[in-house]
């Protein structure tokens, strides 16, 4: 099909809505491996946007490109857990075998190789995306086969099926994963008991957000309900981007009905009345999980057919609610709820200023609830089984259970569901982790837990977590982790505010120099100073948490840094050769 025809049809399929720009661009990207200039011009004309607006959106998302990427677009996941499983060597092997350089399309436009932030497959890495589809358990043999398939021009849908087989790896079940309730039960309870009673129930259960923030879910719903408006939105944050986490992927695979049920319940509860007020739903699915989209669409359709979604749900007049799926396109920051809303509106994912909060002015400036996948399931379960049932599990301040995505140095990586209050020691024991040096809880933005603290527990009042749990044994150099994380934040900073945009790069330079043993005490103090500055002055949580791992490791593993010191002085290290090298590059004169 001609580019102009495809672009026109895509625009038409999204009803010429300019807020669908990102969704339209994603479709064009997957069709052509880039966004052709012709499409950009057409988009700007048909959607009444400037060309620069379209370009600005393309420029923000890692998975959108202005240059052709070729028939095979490979992105190797470069989370530290992938690297621990040998991804760096595999990337080298790919470069070698395919005769490509990173991020540069091969001359014959057949293939582009790139790295990407964690693809959510840490329990079965190394992983990569091929034209957006995940391949797991990469090893040299698989890489060699992949290179052959590429050189022979075999279409991706004819590649060996087992390459794409994603395991759920559920290792421990508790209240959530053990639940066998009917997929309409929460809605039936809602219709019987009504919004006021159930909202109180959710509040009483002490359910807190499972994405990591820990905001009280019932309170969030109440705030949204109280805001005067005709239109409200329920948004499911399935932009699971925290490196090392993959529990939402497993929930979206195994319990999609319960997620949608939880969203429907929320819609019912936050609606003021069913006569002239409406609520709509959106699922923001991270680009890395687009392979799940089709099955999710099927579940949505099944529920519509069963009267559990759509008009007059379960016969209740005016209880109308439906859900659309939006895709992300490679931007960690879009997991932040206001950036996610911007992205849903088809814009660059820059976090908004607050106030106003999304519960008052969210998607399309209407009151909006944004909750994590796991939170919606919990809300549905509380409705079915009662707040008492839920409150009994966990600790006083942290009710219920938490799904952990366990990866790294252990015998049995995968999904573990634990009641809050479970100790790190117990978790390590259960997953078969030996000689553990440290655990990184909640991803690069979380905390590094040293062995002396393994008696501490997973709980909002102790070690809060969104679910990422990466294990490092005694043989690992934790500086590799810190280096990996610092590069992650450089890649993922949105660039809006000064401290995060510039600070993350400065921090990376210093951490790289620690790695190269080219630092002094002065430089270590600089790391601390920049870290504090980013923590205190950044616009959003990304910048303020970007230095957590370096600060934690400096605190708990000072020797790690001390042994890298070139000078113990309080003066910066001055490396003449490095500076000259920079001068040579700048002047293009090797005689400098």
């Amino acid at each position: 099909m001609k580019i102009s025809q495809f672009t026109n049809e895509t625009i038409a399929s999204f009803n010429h809505q300019s807020d669908m720009l990102l969704q339209i661009l994603i479709k064009i990207q997957y069709q052509y491996s880039f966004i052709p200039q012709k499409s950009i011009t057409q988009l700007s004309k048909k959607l009444f946007l400037t060309e620069s607006n379209v370009l600005a959106v393309i420029g923000f998302y890692s998975f959108l490109h202005k240059e052709a990427r070729g028939h095979y677009d490979l992105r190797v996941s470069n989370n530290i857990t992938d690297q621990m499983l040998g991804s760096l060597e595999l990337v080298e092997l790919l470069c070698d075998k395919l005769a490509v350089q990173l991020a540069t399309p091969r001359k014959d436009k057949r293939v582009t190789l790139d790295t990407t932030s964690c693809t959510g497959m840490s329990d079965q890495g190394s992983a990569m995306l091929v034209n957006g589809l995940p391949i797991v358990e990469l090893n040299k043999k698989r890489i060699k086969t992949i290179c052959q398939l590429i050189e022979s021009g075999t279409p991706v849908n004819q590649w060996p099926k087992d390459f794409f087989h994603i395991k759920n790896n559920i290792q421990r079940r508790d209240i959530l994963l053990n639940d066998r309730s009917d997929n309409s039960e929460a809605i039936r309870v809602f219709l019987k008991q009504g919004d006021k009673k159930l909202l109180k129930q959710i509040e009483f259960s002490n359910l807190r957000g499972r994405g990591g923030g820990g905001f009280k879910t019932g309170f969030k719903w109440r705030l949204c309900k109280q805001t005067i408006a005709k239109q409200r939105y329920v948004i499911c944050n399935a932009d699971e981007g925290e490196p090392g986490t993959f529990k939402d992927r497993v929930l979206l695979t195994t319990l999609p009905d319960k997620i949608i049920e939880g969203m429907t319940l929320c819609a019912g509860i936050i609606n003021e009345d069913f006569t002239d007020h409406s609520v709509s739903g959106l699922i923001y699915l991270r680009g890395e999980y687009q392979y799940l989209r089709e099955s999710l669409e099927q579940v949505l359709q099944k529920r519509r057919d069963a009267g559990l979604l759509g008009k007059d749900i379960l016969g209740k007049k005016g209880f109308d609610f439906d859900i659309k799926i939006h895709l992300g396109a490679g931007a960690y920051i879009c997991g932040e709820e206001s950036a996610l809303i911007e992205s849903l509106e088809g814009k660059r994912g820059i976090p908004r200023n607050r106030p106003p909060f999304p519960v008052n002015e969210g998607y399309k400036n209407q009151p909006t609830v944004v909750n994590n996948v796991e939170t919606f399931i919990n809300a549905a379960l509380i409705t079915i089984h009662g707040a008492d049932w839920f409150e009994k599990i966990g600790t006083e301040q942290s009710s219920g259970s938490k799904l952990l995505s366990i990866s790294g140095d252990c015998a049995k990586p995968g999904i573990y569901e634990y009641p809050f209050g479970t100790s790190i020691k117990q978790i390590l024991n259960d997953c078969g982790a030996l000689n553990t040096q440290a655990v990184q809880v909640s991803g690069p933005a979380g905390s590094t837990i040293p062995a002396k603290d393994f008696d501490r527990c997973i709980a909002f009042e102790d070690i809060p977590t969104g679910g990422s749990f990466m294990i490092f044994n005694q043989q690992r150099n934790l500086l590799d982790m810190v280096k990996n994380f610092s590069a992650f934040f450089v890649d993922e900073s949105c660039g809006f505010c000064t401290p995060c945009r510039v600070g993350s790069s400065l921090l990376k330079q210093l951490i790289d120099r620690v790695h190269q043993q080219s630092v002094s005490n002065y430089d270590l103090n600089e790391i601390k100073r920049i870290s504090h500055l980013m923590r205190d002055t950044s616009h959003c949580g990304l910048g303020s948490s970007a230095s957590n791992s370096v600060m934690d490791t400096l605190k708990y593993f000072p020797k790690l840094y001390q042994q890298q010191l070139k000078l113990t002085d309080d003066e910066p290290v001055f490396d003449l050769q490095a500076v000259l090298q920079q001068a040579r590059q700048l002047t293009g004169n090797d005689n400098v």
Binding site: C497, T498, P499, L586
Partner: protein, 248 residues
């Protein structure tokens, strides 16, 4: 536009800035109220006539001990705001230094010297060096327009031109492209050059740049350096005087 300044203030509504009581109206940010009361809080991306942005973070203050950017933070009754502690000044200086090393700034020979808010704030905060290693980014200059030239080397991504062109001029000429440290100012025209846009020197966006990124052509150094706006008095004094004159 900023909040209605003729509206009487409710005498109950007061917060304390560095110990001084500052009256405010419902809906005011800390910055709005402070400027109206004649108290200057250092800032770059903020402009009273535009919607608060909060990106440069230069206006960072402590609000009852917690960090907040005063241009976006609503004023809260009876709170204590600190903008002049050693810690805040140190942080502000570091942020200024970050802006300096991120771009290529050539103060001694820059046409904007003495009129530049970045430079003036650096003086005001006693910034004696750029401290961090220079990034030395490679950025082209756009001298294509007959009346205005753009030196991207000096752009600090405050987005004032973006907002002015979008919200006031209604031309949408400036956009931000890229992400993170690769974020950059982009011009909306078929060639990407300013010449091919409908930009005019009379646009608000042509006058609003706080640094020397957007400069008029053909009028270099008409006022000698040392006799310019911020050469004679610190930016805090100049801006508050200016504010008072506009209120009279």
């Amino acid at each position: 536009m900023s909040k209605n300044q003729t509206e009487g203030t409710n005498s109950d509504l007061i917060f304390y800035l560095n110990g001084n009581p500052i009256p405010f109206n419902t809906g005011d940010t800390i910055m709005d109220a402070a400027l109206r009361a004649g108290e200057y809080i250092d800032h770059l991306c903020h402009h009273p006539e535009f919607k608060p942005h909060g990106s440069c973070r230069i206006c960072i203050v402590k609000l009852d001990g917690k960090s907040a950017s005063s241009c976006t933070q609503p004023a809260i009754k009876n709170t204590h705001v600190t903008s002049n502690s050693e810690e805040i000044i140190g942080q502000r200086k570091s942020l200024l230094q970050m802006l300096f090393v991120e771009g290529n700034h050539i103060c001694p020979s820059c046409e904007k010297s003495g009129d530049c808010q970045l430079q003036a704030l650096a003086y005001q905060n006693k910034m004696l060096s750029s401290h961090f290693n220079q990034f030395f980014p490679k950025r082209a200059i756009d001298a294509s327009h007959p009346a205005v030239f753009i030196d991207f080397n000096r752009c600090i991504l405050c987005e004032l031109c973006v907002r002015a062109s979008r919200d006031v001029d209604k031309k949408n000429i400036f956009w931000i492209d890229g992400r993170g440290i690769n974020a950059k100012l982009m011009i909306n025209s078929p060639s990407g050059k300013l010449r091919d846009s409908d930009f005019s020197i009379n646009d608000v966006a042509a006058q609003i740049c706080p640094v020397g990124a957007i400069l008029p052509k053909h009028q270099g150094y008409e006022i000698p350096i040392e006799k310019r706006r911020y050469d004679k008095q610190p930016i805090s004094v100049v801006e508050i005087d200016c504010q008072k004159r506009s209120q009279d």
